[in-house]
Structures are given as C-alpha cells and as structure tokens.
C-alpha cells in the first residue's frame, strides 16, 4: 500500500470496529488485520504496557485509547506520517466525534449498532481532517485566519449582530478560515475552534444551518446550537447559542439587517482568502509557501499562493500546489518536533520522543535545502514563521528574506 492512510475506530472493551475511514490509494484492511492491530494493543495494556506506535520503512501505525472506551488506530504510508501529526490527528478525530455526538454516548457504549449509526454523522468532519486540504490548523493546532483589510468594520458588524442574537459566541468565516470572531469565541479552546472551523468548512453549502454540537472541552455532554448563515457563497457567519433564538428568527430579522451594509467587505474577504492577506503586501518573489503562527493567540496565516495572480502562474510551474503543501507541512513537523517545542501543558507522559529537550542551548532558526525547494523557519517570543522557497534561491539569502518577511507581516497585519 503506497501512499494511503487508514483510520480505525473500535470499541476498546469489545474490540468491535465502529468505523473505518481511509484516504489515498489504500485498500480496505481485512477484518483479521483490524483484529490483530487491536489485539496487540489490548494484550499490551493487559500486561501494563501501553503500545504507542510502530513503523516499517514507509509505514507507520499509531494507537490511542480515549476514556478507556474508544480505541483509535491510524495506519499510514504517507510521507507526513510523523508522531506529531498522528498525535494531533487522533486527538482531533476523537474530539470531532465528541463534537458531533457528545461524550456520553462514546463513554457509555450501550448499543454499539446505534453508536455506529450515530457516528456516520462525523464522517464528513473526519474526512476533512484526513484530507488536510486548504487548512493547516489540524497540524499546527492553531486557528486558520484570513487577514481582511476591513477587519475593523467586520468586527463591529459581527459584534452587534451577535449581541442582537443574544449570544456571545460569534464568528465570521470564509471557506473555513476565520476572519473575525467575538472575544468570547476566542476564549473557546484552540481545539474547539479548529474543529468548529473545519466543521463549517466541511459541511455542504447551505444558506443556513441549525446544528447541534457538543464542545469537547467546554461542554462535552450538553449540546449547544451552532447556527450558520451564508452571507455570500463561501462566507458564513456562525453563532453559538442555547435554545433561543430560532434559526428563522435570526435569518429573517438579523442577517439582512446587519450584514447587507458590509457586503463589499465580505466580497473582499472572498478575494483575499486564498492568499490569506492583502495583495498590497508584497512578499519576496522566491517565497512559494508561508505559515505565520501567533504563538500567544494560537492563530495562523497559511498560504501556498503568496503572490498576486500574475506571478503565481509562473510559480505554479516551479512547484505544484500539492507539493508545496506537503513540503510546508513536513518542514513544520520537522522544525516543531525537533527544534521548536510546542507549548504543551499536557500532564500526560510524552507518547513520543521529545528531541528538543536534549538541547543545552535554545534553537532559534532553522533551514533546509532540498532538491526542489528550500525552507526557512524562525521562532520569536510571539511568532513562528515558516517559509518555502524556490530551489534557486541562494541559501545565504534565506535568512534575511525570512526576517524581513516577519517584520513586514507583523507590521502590516494585526497579528
């Protein structure tokens, strides 16, 4: 199986498979293989040994158990199959399940067949986690943002709209990327924010939705309502609320009233979203991919088309977008797992090696040069910046381009 990923979900106690999702060209695993994969893990835990991962040259398997009730196993022969990615993927998948069907049903497995049916509702969200297309938040555990030039106007519009709907939690999204959100919205955990954005981005386009959700950390057992309204195609405003107001009420009374005055701004957002920031910010022509992370706010800006349209045509020939994504994701993984420790406040013991703990001095910047690209990463107190360059960029220029870019972006963007 070359280049594929399989995600298995089983009931920990009985070993009954709950679902299986896959990506790429992998074949469905046979029942006996699924049984063995679960069996070795179960055998280990009976002996007080927690099996975490195993790997062959190209394939990697990772096990995680959640709440002693759900076992997730991922098996991947993709290049980005790192401990870091697997750890975050499995965490996200489980929380996606909580988000959609709530923790109670997952912890107290009474009717497996019913649970299986319920879990079908998560497939879309899980598949979009596996696909990892236009977003990188699933890997960075940061909220993918779009820096709109009209952020102030939109923020104001959102605040009054949310207040009028008698909620505190509201957010404006363009293609699953957050443009502006209310202060309370930002207080949700990063995991919830990432999943909510993914959920909105992964659902089929609809003019409005009323979707019951559980917040994996804030409210895992009591559902809330997620209301979304399409303002222009691709741009949705989301509300998190209790039993009131009704969808109908908001749709008819509030949406039109608060959002029609800022229609132009919304359309600008749509134009900006591919690049995630304004065309007026000119980046160095050798940059083909950019990821800027605000470490304090857990937000990131991610783009694979950092240039205005005319030059991107030419850039596309240098490195295909698919390849750019994979390179940037892997460079991020390398840098974060080896050099720039993520701020983890997890109490649980490390499930994979933490290489950076062995350094006596602090890593600040790093780069690689490969056959078809170069990458540069740097970390400051507040930001992390990862850039992909064309292969013909001189290595000695990478650093100055990177520091200049960071300076420019932090100056120009409210980030």
């Amino acid at each position: 199986m070359a280049g594929g990923l399989q995600l298995l979900c089983l009931s920990t106690s009985s070993g009954v498979p709950l679902y299986c999702r896959s990506k790429g060209e992998s074949r469905q695993l046979s029942f006996s293989v699924i049984g063995s994969l679960n069996g070795v893990h179960m055998f280990g835990s009976n002996q007080d040994v927690l099996l975490t991962s195993t790997s062959t040259d190209n394939c990697r398997v990772c096990w995680r158990v959640f709440h002693d009730s759900i076992t997730l196993i991922v098996m991947s022969s993709e290049e980005d199959a790192s401990d870091l990615y697997f750890g975050r993927l499995l965490e996200n998948v489980f929380n996606a399940m909580v988000l959609v069907i709530g923790l109670d049903d997952l912890v107290n497995l009474k009717n497996v067949e019913r649970l299986k049916r319920e879990l079908r509702a998560c497939y879309k969200l899980i598949d979009s986690l596996l696909a990892a297309s236009d977003w990188i938040g699933d890997l960075t555990m940061c909220v993918d943002c779009v820096a709109s030039p009209d952020a102030a106007v939109l923020q104001e519009a959102l605040d009054v709209f949310v207040a009028a709907a008698e909620s505190n939690f509201g957010c404006l999204m363009v293609m699953g990327k957050t443009v502006v959100a209310t202060e309370k919205w930002w207080r949700l955990t990063t995991q919830e924010l990432v999943l909510l954005a993914l959920l909105v981005g992964s659902l089929a386009p609809n003019s409005s939705r009323d979707y019951p959700i559980y917040l994996p950390h804030g409210s895992p057992t009591v559902p809330h309502r997620l209301l979304t309204f399409q303002l222009v195609p691709g741009v949705d405003v989301c509300l998190l609320c209790g039993p009131t107001p009704s969808l109908q009420q908001v749709q008819t009374e509030l949406v039109e009233r608060f959002w029609s005055p800022v229609l132009e701004c919304l359309k600008t957002c749509l134009r900006v979203h591919q690049r995630s920031f304004l065309a007026s910010i000119n980046l160095h022509h050798s940059i083909v991919g950019l990821l800027l992370i605000n470490r304090e706010q857990n937000k990131n800006i991610f783009t694979l088309q950092p240039h205005a349209d005319e030059s991107s045509q030419q850039q596309g020939a240098v490195l295909l977008p698919e390849r750019r994504r994979s390179v940037l994701r892997q460079f991020y993984t390398l840098a974060v797992s080896a050099y720039f420790p993520a701020d983890t406040s997890e109490d649980q013991p490390a499930l994979h090696e933490e290489f950076h703990t062995g350094f006596t001095h602090q890593p600040k910047e790093c780069y690689i040069t490969a056959a078809d690209h170069k990458c540069y990463g740097l970390q400051t107190q507040q930001h992390q910046l990862f850039l992909t360059f064309t292969a013909d960029t001189p290595t000695f220029a990478l650093r100055s381009i990177a520091t200049n870019t960071l300076g420019l972006l932090t100056k120009e963007l409210p980030f």
Binding site: M1, D48, T54, E353, H361, A371, S400, T403
Partner: protein, 902 residues
C-alpha cells in the same frame, strides 16, 4: 527446558529499561540445545608485575605470556596494562574503600545474592577498573591480585571470585570457595506420567531427578548444612541434592552432584517450601521460541512477556506492507521504550532501549551496527545465538552493549569522558567511519611503508623460504591506531568498519587513548562483511578463495595495530580453530616497536593545534563582571551595534602596550544587518565581539600557538582569567610583518571574515570510511563552560540533522533498487521533503547563572549546519560557527576537505 540455576552472582543490572532477545518466529527447526559447557568462554586477563620487555617477545625460545589464555576455540583476548597503570589501579584498590559495607562476602551465599543485588560495585573506583569490573562481573576477568583463584578456576566455573576481587582483604578468604554453577537441565513436564505423581512422588524427583529428603528426617545432616543456611531464609530449607534418580535429566547432564544445593530454578529462588510450586509452573518446550534473552531485570522480563506483540506485528505488517518492521514504541512504567527489530531468516532480534537515551532514527543505526558486529564475530545471528556455548559470551557482549548505550560515562567508554557527552558518543559511534588523525606527510609515509613491509610478509620468519613451507596466513591488510585515532589504513572500507565496530564494542580505542597498554593481543576468527554480504563476485570472473579470516590485534602502549589474515587461498588451509601464531604476533609487535620511533612526531601533531583553527565560544560572550571589573580583567571588549559599548580603560593601555589593546571595530557583513528582527528582540545577539590581548608579541607565531596556559580548570574562576585560546591570532597579526601573518592566518582559518568564527566541525568521507574532527587536545584547549555546552549541543543537533539526511540516503538506496520502475522512482523522489542537501539550525545561548536582573544576559548565536554531498560515495559535513559571518556551508566543506583530507 528448565534452567537449573544454581546462582553464581547477581549482576547489578540497572533498572534501566533495556533488553535484548532473540526468538524464532516459527517453532520449526529448533535445535535442542546442548548442555552448557563451562570454562569455554572468552577470557580477558589482566595481569601485572613482571611483564617482559616487549622486545624480548620476538625471541622464539620463550613461550609467549599470552599462550595460557588461548581458549579451546582458538580465541584470545589478552590485556596487560603497563606497570604504572597497574600501580595506579592497585593504589585505587588499596584506598580504604568500604567494600565491606557493600558486599559482605561470607560463606552464606544467600547473603551475597541479596546484598549484591542492591549495590553497585565501587562507583568511585578507578575508571579502568569499571571496565574491568564489567568484565569481571561476567566472570571473564581474573584479577591481578588473585592468582590462587585463577588456578582453581581451571576446573570450576567462575564463581564468586568476582566478588572477592573487589575486596582488598579478601585474599585470606580465597580458600572459602563457593562454586555456583549454572546447570541446564532439559525437562518436559508434559512427559511426566501422571501415575507417578499420584503416588506422591514429587516433581523435583519426577521431572528433574533430584532426590531431596526434608531435613527433619535426617537430623545428622542438618548440622552439616548449617553453614550454608542463611539466617534470613526461614520459610524453607535449602534443597540439597541427596541422590539422583538413575537416568534422569539431572544425572544425564553430568553436572549435578550429590551435596550440591539447588538455589534457583529459572531465576526463581527455591527452597523446600516452594520448589514444587515453581516446578509445576514450568512451561513445556514451547519456551524454546526464545533463543536468548538478556538481562534478567524486571523491565526486560516485562518485554519478554509481551513478545507476542512483536511477533504479531512483525508478521502482520510484513504481510500488509511487504516491509520489515523497524521499531515499536511503548510506554512502560511511565517510560517510553523503543524496541528495534532485526529479522534474519526465521530469527528475530529485538533490542529495547529507553527512548530518552536512544531516539528512533539512532536505534535503527544501532541495531544495524550491532548485527554487523555480531556477524563479524559469529558469521550470522543464527550461529551466534543458537549455540549454547555462546551464552556466556553473549551475556558479556550485551552487558557491555547496554552499558555503552545507557551509561557510557559509567563504563568510561566514550573516548574521553571529560569532553564526550552521551550524545557525542552516540553520534560519533553511529557514523560509518573511523576517527582519522591527519599527520604530516613524512610521518604518514613512514607509517605506510612500515605497514606495507608487514603486509608483504616476505621477510624474516614470515617468508615462505624461512621454514621452507607454505605460509599459514596471508596478510590481507592492516590498520594502525594511535591513542584511538586511526593513523594508517591499508584495508578496504568495509574491513575497516568491521574492525572499528569490534574495537568500539570492546572499548579498545579509549583504552589505548587513556592508558598505556603493556600488551594487548586479540585473536579470533572473523567473518568480514564484504565476504558475507556479497554473493556475487566482487570482480567479474574472480572468485574469492573460500578461506577463513582471522583478526589479530596487537597493542603496545598507545599504539594498536589490527591485521586481517586469510587462511586458505594461497596460504595453508586452517583446520579446526587455530590459535594465534606467535610468529605473526611477534612480527606485528616488531612493527609496532619500529613505529614507536614515530611517536614523538605524532604526539606533537596531537598536542599542537592543526588546521583549521578553532575559536572558543566563551570568547564571544562578555564575562559577567565585565562592566564592573574591567580593571581586573585584561579583556577588552567592544559592543558594536549597541550604545552600551564600554569605555576603553586607558589605564591598562599603558600597562600592556598599545599593540595588545587594539579596539577593533570589525563590521561583519550580515545579510540581515539592517532590519534584523531577531536582533531587535534579543538584543545584540551575535553582534558582540570581544577582543583579547595576547601576552607577548615578540614571540614567533608557532611558539605562541604551542604555549599552553596552565590552570584553565574551574569554570568559575575562568571567567576572570584571560581566555586561554592559543589558536587565536586576531590581535597579533598586526604586530607581525603584515604579509607573513596574514598568509599564515588565512591558510589556517576556515571561516571567512576577519575573525575566526569556527567552533567545531566533523567531516565524514564514506569512500574511505573515515571522519575527521578536532582532536581531544584541541577541544581541551578551548575549555570554556559555554564552549563545552556548545560541543554537546552540536553533537545532539548533528544527530537530528543526520537523521534527516538518512531519509534522503535511504530513499536514494531504494530508488536505485527500483530504477527500472521509473514511475515509482519519480514518485519517491518528489515525496516527503525530498532529497535534503543541507540543514542548519541557529542556536542562542547565554551565560548560566545570570544574576543581574536589570540587564538581560548577553547572548551569543551560532549555527550548526550539516551538508550532505550525495555522490556515489556520500560525504557528510557538519560545522559549527558563530553567527556574525554568513557562511556558505558548501564552501566551508570544500575548503576543509581540500585543505585537510588530501
């Protein structure tokens, strides 16, 4: 199979999670292991006292002193330290060491077991002794102070001798010989017929064939055995063999005698009280799927219990992916453990190591090297693990192996413990190369001619004419080490690496580096990698002779010469297991004596700095008290880019003379000097240059370079001292004739810019299987607290850089395998990060214990850059330099390899 384990001693195995075992993945074809033969084990002997003049060895009349140590299988491991080293050891032993508190050796064996278990032997002991202890613990070393014991040992398995050995006062007690022995007895509980059991016959009798009557029935004996009864064990009585059942397993093995005491079965201590229970739990022959298992620590037993996981994963993943499993990670007792796999035929070798010690990418390399070492010594894993007589040897082997990987400092195995941290050792040991010392051309030539003389084997006793008979061995080639550095090599790369791995494993190189060896003679049959790995002929139409290969290592003082010999081919066929031939040993010794004439020259090269010059990292950080106590420190510094720049202490100027106190305002070209974001945030990172005075400008450069500054000891007072940096030329160049000094300086400096910003480097040439890196002396010269941290950090970082490179190299190897499938090759090469050529990391450091809260600590930034040259024979280059100059790694590597290696 039951291992009747009459315990000899308990190894002080650490609680560290480490384990190795080898098992059959299929039950088919398990050979029935034979009885353990004692006395056939690798023997290391240290002896002292009247060792003969090395020169006299060549006279054939005298029997060589190592002759008695040659084992049945022809192998020899003979080590004799030089007299002064011995004295040091004896002195270390004679210190009032409170061993008596640790190991109370008495005639109560149980006490030894319990006591010894919890104590680590003599931690504060002399360094080499630790190495020796490890060997001793395995019962492989006879001590120099226990001759009597040695003699008795001839017909006894090594017993508590090792415990006695630590005991300076123990000589008087030597006669109290307790012989503990491991006896392997084959039993099959399934075969014991039920009838006899129902009749009340005990399992001990039915299964094993040992008859023991409860002591109460024979009160006369009880008194006699009191001496063996430990006061603590009141629960049950000792199991004394009172008679043997005729034809039983115990009798067949021929090693269980009447009067012996059964102490443990399969590592479980037994008494009359629990013996039946223990035996009834003995599993049947199914246990045989484990061919070898080490050590017997708790963590390791746990791994053994879950071996089903590894076997299942190995089979299953191979079926699904068609690839071998490399590793499994698991959490055990709150610790992450990495288990590495190696499959050879039906056998599976598993090594478990704590993840904090060995990360996954290194584990893969380590297993590869381990297997290669075992193959070099035993031909294959199968022949290493499936012969029962190898068990004690393997125990010794893995004891060393785990000590080396888990506690290198304790074993003092890293080449120089003072400078080499565990990551240093981990990185350097993992490189596919041997540490090479560049030498002046004339010395190198002398070495090469001398080695060629030996290899030609056409003179003296080695020539066929001398005895008028076919010679015994062909000399295939040799390699020469001095103080652990390779200084001459006439072997193909693979042979060299084989030898290097063997020497690394037995810690021979650091031994020669730190101790003067009186005499070292090692002889064994080996199975070189290039012959066992290549099935096709190396050259078309030519077939390697199907001969036997032998490794002869002879060491004298700091020299060590390794010679690969071939029997068969154009030399005699080797029959059986021939031991070392004294003619060859003497010839090698003669060569070594000849080479000793070059020692002074080589030593000079070692003590003098070589190209390229290095800088001390501490030099780039202003000392803590710089601002306050400039007058007490002869260091003049200059902050370049900030307004904090200090005032020049003019008072000192007159004292030292103008030429010494030069305020230099160098402005290194920096790519980011204009709007350096990092600099804004972190202050003057990397823009801090400190200039130092030198003592005398009238001396010649060379003399200056050689001058060593004494007392560069503690890191605390060092800050106030002038920084001992004999390589630094910065301030002197002006005072010398301009042209001359510039020239010398530029040749010997690797980095660009006016300052020498090079801190450390490693250059690996896989074509020749060597790497070069600054010598220990050079690193010692740059002794500074920041600098030593930097060296550690550098190696740690190299580990991570190299693992990125290895993905490239692995992929490349795979691509060449499937070159015909071009579509797949394309796919592979464009996935992942792709072939990575260069990888660099910028580090920032500040002095430790910065107390001044008002000012942020001064900091210094430096790069660690790795560069991979993917060629037919890949080269790797790792360099560490200060951040002030933008360096192009390719250029540095180019300059280094053309300046040094050729």
């Amino acid at each position: 199979m039951v291992k009747d384990f009459v315990r000899r001693e308990v190894l002080t195995q650490d609680e560290a999670v480490s384990s190795s075992f080898l098992m059959r993945s299929e039950d088919a074809g398990v050979e029935t292991p034979g009885t353990l033969e004692d006395s056939e084990r690798e023997t290391v002997t240290t002896s002292s006292g009247a060792h003969p003049e090395p020169g006299s060895c060549s006279s054939g009349d005298l029997e060589p002193e190592w002759l008695d140590d040659v084992q049945k299988n022809g192998e020899l491991f003979y080590l004799e330290l030089s007299e002064d080293e011995e004295d040091a050891l004896i002195q270390a032993n004679a210190l009032p060491v409170s061993y008596t508190n640790h190991v109370r050796f008495s005639d109560k064996e149980a006490e030894i077991i319990t006591d010894h278990k919890s104590k680590k032997p003599c931690i504060h002991d002399h360094k080499l002794k630790k190495l020796a202890n490890v060997l001793k613990k395995k019962g492989l070393v006879h001590g120099h102070s226990c001759k009597k014991v040695n003699e008795q040992r001839d017909n006894q398995p090594p017993g508590p001798v090792s415990i006695l050995k630590h005991h300076p006062n123990s000589k008087t007690r030597v006669p109290v010989q307790l012989s503990y022995k491991d006896v392997l007895v084959y039993i099959n509980p399934n075969k014991v017929n039920n009838e006899s059991l129902t009749e009340g016959v005990k399992l001990l009798e039915a299964c094993v064939g040992i008859i023991h009557q409860p002591a109460s029935k024979i009160p006369a004996d009880k008194k006699h055995f009191n001496t063996f009864t430990d006061a603590k064990t009141t629960a049950g009585e000792k199991l004394i063999v009172q008679s043997l059942v005729h034809g039983s397993a115990a009798m067949k093995c021929g090693q269980v005698f009447i009067g012996d005491v059964l102490i443990a079965v399969n590592d479980v201590e037994v008494t009359t009280e629990n013996i039946e229970r223990v035996l009834s739990c003995t599993p049947g022959p199914i246990q045989q799927e484990i061919l070898y298992h080490y050590p017997m620590a708790d963590a390791s037993k746990k791994l053994k219990n879950i071996r089903g996981i590894f076997l299942t994963l190995c089979d299953m993943l191979e079926n699904i992916t068609g690839e071998q499993v490399i590793s499994t990670s698991l959490l055990m007792n709150g610790k992450l453990v990495n288990v590495g796999y190696w499959k050879e035929g039906y056998n599976l070798l598993l090594i478990g190591l704590p993840a904090e010690r060995v990360a996954l990418p290194q584990l893969k390399n380590m297993i590869k090297n381990l297997v290669r070492t075992l193959q070099y010594m035993y031909n294959s894993l199968d022949s290493a693990f499936c012969k029962l007589e190898n068990v004690p040897r393997l125990n010794h082997f893995f004891n060393l192996y785990f000590q080396r990987t888990i506690q290198p400092a304790k074993l003092n195995c890293s080449s120089s413990s003072q400078f080499d941290s565990s990551s240093t050792a981990l990185f350097l040991d993992g490189l596919p190369g041997v540490r090479w010392l560049t030498l002046p051309q004339d010395i190198k030539m002398d070495i090469d001619t001398t080695l060629s003389d030996l290899e030609s084997a056409d003179f003296g006793e080695l020539s066929e004419d001398f005895y008028d008979m076919q010679r015994l061995y062909m000399i295939l080639g040799s390699c020469l080490f001095f103080k652990g550095y390779l200084i001459g090599n006439h072997l193909p790369k693979d042979d060299l690496l084989d030898i290097a791995l063997y020497c690394q494993h037995y810690c021979l190189l650091p031994l020669a580096a730190e101790k003067r060896i009186g005499q070292l003679v090692i002889w064994r049959e080996v199975f070189p990698y290039q012959y066992i790995s290549s099935e096709e002929p190396i050259i078309e139409g030519y077939q390697e002779p199907k001969g036997k290969y032998f490794l002869l290592i002879v060491g004298l003082r700091h020299f060590m010469l390794c010679v690969v010999l071939e029997a068969g081919g154009c030399a005699c066929k080797a029959i059986g297991n021939p031991g070392p031939d004294s003619i060859y040993v003497d010839q090698v010794k003669t060569i070594l004596l000849k080479l000793e004439g070059l020692e002074a020259g080589i030593q000079e090269r070692l003590t003098n700095p070589s190209t390229p010059y290095l800088s001390c990292a501490d030099r780039f950080i202003p000392p803590r008290d710089m601002f306050e106590s400039l007058s007490s420190s002869p260091i003049i510094s200059k902050l370049q880019t900030t307004s904090k720049s200090t005032q020049s202490p003019t008072s000192r100027r007159t004292l030292f003379g103008d030429s010494n106190l030069r305020m230099r305002k160098s402005n290194p070209p920096r790519s980011n000097s204009t709007s350096d974001y990092a600099d804004e945030r972190f202050g003057d990172s990397g823009s801090f240059n400190v200039d130092f005075d030198s003592y005398s400008t009238s001396n010649k450069i060379k003399k200056h370079l050689r001058s060593e500054i004494p007392g560069s000891g503690g890191s605390e007072n060092k800050k106030k001292q002038r920084f001992p940096n004999p390589f630094y030329l910065g301030s002197m160049k002006k005072s010398l004739p301009e042209a001359e000094s510039e020239e010398i300086y530029n040749i010997k400096k690797l980095t660009s810019g006016s300052e020498n910003t090079l801190f450390h480097y490693i250059s690996l040439e896989t074509l020749q299987g060597i790497f070069i890196t600054p010598t220990h002396t050079e690193v010692a010269h740059l002794n500074g607290s920041i600098h030593s941290q930097l060296i550690k950090n550098f190696h740690r970082c190299c580990l991570s850089i190299r693992s990125v490179f290895q993905q490239t190299l692995d992929k490349r190897a795979k691509c060449s395998d499937i070159i015909h499938n071009s579509a797949q090759t394309l796919r592979k090469s464009s996935s992942g990060l792709g072939p990575v050529k260069e990888h660099g990391i910028l580090f920032q450091c500040s002095p430790e214990n910065w107390t001044d809260r008002k000012k942020p600590p001064p900091s210094m930034s430096y790069w660690v850059v790795g560069r991979l040259f993917v060629d037919l024979h890949p080269q790797e280059f790792y360099v560490c330099f200060h951040d002030s100059v933008t360096e192009v790694a390719v250029e540095l590597a180019f300059r280094l390899s053309f300046g040094l290696i050729t």
